[in-house]
């Protein structure tokens, strides 16, 4: 069974149609990177998967469950989907440990002891064991994002969504977050990643999806997308982002 199936997904904000018929299937264990110009609908696409945005038309299936069905228990589906945001969105009033345990306890009903144990293991996984007692405001951006990943992992998700997880970071902190994501990919986690990190997309992903103007303009293995894009607009986009020193005046 496919991890995610989007079928003819459309999404409008008022008169602005942002997604204009997206068909996309992601199999378990795949790492799919979504690239594309700013405003092309990448975040909206990702947010339609866990219904932070409700598609205007089309269907979204996650692990075989139709989340666009009004009778769907969306909270139950979201438990199985980890989401990592550009702005980290750690709970500011809670310690790192409590950030990792609160949903385990309140949503999954785990005992305090087992939730703390899971949190401990996931903090070790992202290399932040010593920060369990710290508060988010005391951490660097890179550390906050790693905690956010550990928080999502603590729910034992079947798949993970990343929305530009390194875009809000100082350049020297990007690497530590990408390293954690690469580790996850190596362990076989199903991942849908919106990113501007082309090196990551090229080296880690199993497939690259180029989104432009609310449609999938092109998709394929990274070697094809980066090496021999079929579409002119893919080539033009890649030329723009891979030559950051070139500035149009």
């Amino acid at each position: 069974m496919s991890a995610i199936v989007l079928n003819g997904v459309r999404k409008s904000f008022g008169a602005n149609e942002v997604l204009r018929g997206i068909d996309l299937t992601i199999e378990p264990g795949e790492v799919v990177c979504v690239i594309g110009p700013s405003g092309s609908g990448k975040s909206t696409l990702l947010r339609c998967v866990n219904l932070l945005e409700t598609p205007t038309a089309g269907t979204v299936h996650v692990g075989g469950v139709d989340v666009t069905d009004p009778d769907c228990d969306i909270d139950a589906v979201r438990r199985r989907i980890g989401m990592v945001f550009q702005q980290f969105n750690l709970f500011g009033h809670l310690s790192v440990r409590d950030n990792l345990t609160i949903a385990q306890r309140r949503v999954l009903g785990r005992s305090k002891a087992s939730a703390v144990e899971v949190a401990r293991a996931n903090l070790a996984r992202v290399g932040l064991s010593e920060k369990a007692g710290a508060y988010p405001a005391q951490l660097s951006g890179g550390q906050q994002q790693r905690v956010a990943i550990a928080r999502a992992l603590s729910m034992d998700p079947e798949l993970m969504l990343f929305d530009e997880p390194t875009s809000a970071l100082d350049p020297e902190l990007v690497g530590e977050v990408l390293a954690v994501m690469r580790g996850l990919a190596d362990e076989g986690m199903t991942m849908l990643v919106v990113t501007h990190e082309m090196a990551f997309a090229r080296e880690v992903s199993s497939r690259v999806v180029f989104l432009d103007g609310g449609v999938v303009a092109e998709q394929g293995p990274p070697a094809q997308i980066f090496g021999a894009p079929k579409e002119a607009r893919t080539a033009a986009f890649l030329k723009r982002v891979l030559e950051p020193t070139h500035v149009d005046l």
Binding site: L52, R79, F85, N89, L90, A152
Partner: protein, 264 residues
């Protein structure tokens, strides 16, 4: 002679200080200090008010304040949540309530609660006697203000906090209780502390509900003493006792605000 802009500004400022000091001095010299002292600062009268001024009057003032605050806070929270409800009639009710009670004088509301409830529910008594009536009478007005404060606090919590909570599978209610409200309350601690200051002063209205020797609060206590001693010194004593509560509270508000500024 031409003055530079800086010099002109400094001259203007000095002139301002001088005028201000002159007005204060003239007022101080014009006042009859002997009369004032005899009227407002009679040591024997002041001391005769103690210990009851503290053990009964101040104590009741604090009790009325805290009871009305807790009542208003709970009702205000409910109203704030109704105001944000997806159920339209809840929203309408909360809005109407807030507009109504923010638009009425606290004294009038206190009267209406004190005399209206016994008429509306003839076979029941407000639990707690005068304490209960004052709690409700002041609390229903305070709730209207606190509802707006809490609502603003909820709205000030970034949307990303909701999204992170919901993405983890939390229901709307769970996200509200565990994630949003705790952060909203941090934001509204300073304005809620201000509300305690306002309530402290509003307890002076409790006399309209017929307080007794046991339930008397500071203002009524001072008013009674004023009548028996035929001297306004008790008013000064009461004022000082109010300030003993309200000044530390406003210091606290300032401290909260400074801390919040530093955190931001």
């Amino acid at each position: 002679m031409k003055l530079k802009r800086r010099q002109r500004q400094r001259l203007g400022r000095v002139a301002g200080y001088v005028a201000f000091a002159a007005i204060i001095l003239v007022a101080a010299f014009a006042a009859d200090w002997g009369q004032l002292h005899d009227a407002f600062f009679r040591w024997d009268i002041a001391t005769s008010m103690f210990p009851d001024a503290v053990t009964v009057a101040l104590r009741n003032t604090v009790i009325y304040t805290l009871l009305a605050f807790v009542f208003g806070l709970v009702l205000g929270l409910i109203l704030a949540l109704m105001r944000r409800s997806s159920v339209a009639p809840y929203r309408w009710f909360a809005r109407a309530y807030i507009e109504l009670f923010r638009g009425l004088p606290a004294l009038l509301v206190l009267f209406m609660v004190g005399y209206g409830i016994p008429i509306a529910f003839p076979n029941r008594e407000i639990p707690g006697g005068v304490y209960g009536s004052v709690t409700i009478g002041l609390g229903v007005t305070a709730a209207a203000y606190m509802a707006e404060t809490i609502r603003a606090g909820i709205q000030a919590v970034p949307k990303g906090q909701w999204e992170a909570a919901r993405s983890l599978g939390m229901s709307h209610t769970r996200a509200m209780v565990s994630i949003v409200l705790p952060q909203a309350f941090r934001i509204v601690i300073p304005p809620l502390t201000n509300e305690i200051i306002l309530l402290t002063k509003d307890t002076s209205l409790a006399y309209v509900l017929g307080v007794t020797a046991g339930t008397i609060e500071l203002t009524k206590f001072a008013g009674d003493a004023l009548n028996t001693k035929v001297n306004p010194t008790p008013l000064v004593v009461a004022g000082l006792l109010y300030l003993a509560i309200t000044l530390p509270l406003s210091q606290l508000v300032r401290w909260f605000e400074r801390r919040a500024e530093r955190a931001a």
